[in-house]
Symmetry: C2
DNA sequence: TAAGTGTACGTGGTCTGACCACTAAAAGGG
DNA sequence: CCCTTTTAGTGGTCAGACCACGTACACTTA
């Protein structure tokens, strides 16, 4: 029920994070659900309120919970994490990092193109082709479509993070370049990996090596 | 110098995070450097110590700083963040997620193999070959070497995260399979992408599609 | 009855002051 | 000179006190 008083080495707020996690798991709490109030957590866990708050603030900065003054603390939809901006401005400094961001973004985009090839969902590609003709869009928006078609949520997250990094580093925005988008989609429909890669390289002005 | 007393909407601990960030930037503080003590930050920013602690605890859970009792608070080497275990057990539930983890891990590993091909650093590959013969190692350890050779810090982070996810989901550990490791390194030395991919597919027991 | 209003309670947000445990540097003694 | 002791500084934690805000319920009023 209660925790060790001074559990050697471990800090109280970390224990509370742990407890919260198992509490959420056991009770099957989902995004939007309310968790016990700070004062109730104090009593239940036999700790001071400041320690509870340290745990909650940490989880809040991680984007895992949301607090509303006068109402309470709620579990958040993890998909939207602002955590990235933080890490971005903290972590990335040197030029090697910049280069890594660009390289990684490109490779992830290539992976998604390969995934789409493997999924081979013609109808979705046809839809995308229509969308190309009927819409104004940016390079980002095009690739968001691509990433979505790849149907891998982790890649979606990773790409979003990289894109945020990209912006945070003030790298030049990709400029729209319609013919290449058509070429990529066409190549995807053709089903030939080499063609797809070549179209992508052209768009990004890369050598195909 | 000091902040607004109740700055509407914004919470004090978030302001402190901001201040710390610019403080680190201005003073050019690097991993290992010490930041001002909690009590000094209170005075400098005209806030309570509990607020300062909320900010520091949050940054600590993010893995951005490290505190040592009796010594102080230090900027941390961002490369190692335990943040992931947290997110992992919080975020991933359904079976689609599991599938995504596996798929993404494999694709990242493939990307790194391609990067190594592009870098074409023969000496490092020879060293790796020696290591293979002289060491006991696990599948993880082998691919850590691979990812390192790819020399892209972001991929290293992403792969580590995915590996943690993999463990958190209790997916079956990759088993060591020596001949395939040799084949991969040999193919890398050969410089033929198709061979490299084929070796990897064999190791992971995947079709080459 | 129905609509509006106001009060009380619960919640998060913040500050203060008090300890404790631990570390490292300064002071002291051999 | 070295070793011990002291001391000051640091993070870790708790308790209590306010404040600001939102909600719900009881009360008034039309």
């Amino acid at each position: 029920m209660s925790m060790e008083p001074v559990e050697r080495g471990s800090k109280v707020y970390l224990e509370i994070v742990k407890q919260l996690r198992s509490m959420i798991e056991q009770d099957g709490l989902k995004p939007g659900d309310k968790i016990p109030s700070e004062r109730e957590l104090c009593e239940r866990l036999n700790v001071g309120r400041s320690s509870v708050r340290e745990a909650l603030r940490a989880l809040e900065l991680l984007g895992l919970i949301e607090t509303r003054r006068g109402e309470g603390t709620f579990i958040r939809d993890f998909r939207s994490n602002q955590l990235v901006q933080l890490l971005g401005t903290f972590v990335l400094q040197d030029s090697k990092a910049k280069q890594d961001v660009i390289e990684t973004k490109y490779l992830i985009e290539l992976d998604c193109l390969r995934l789409i090839l493997r999924r081979n969902n013609v109808k979705q590609l046809e839809d995308l082709k229509e969308w190309l003709e009927s819409c104004e869009f940016t390079d980002d928006q095009f690739f968001i479509k691509i990433i979505e078609l790849a149907d891998n949520h982790l890649f979606y997250r990773i790409w979003s993070i990289l894109n945020d990094y990209y912006d945070a580093l003030k790298l030049p925005k990709m400029e729209r370049n319609d013919p290449f988008y058509f070429a990529i989609v066409q190549a995807l429909l053709g089903g030939n990996e080499a063609d797809v890669l070549q179209s992508y390289y052209s768009l990004r002005k890369l050598s195909n090596a």
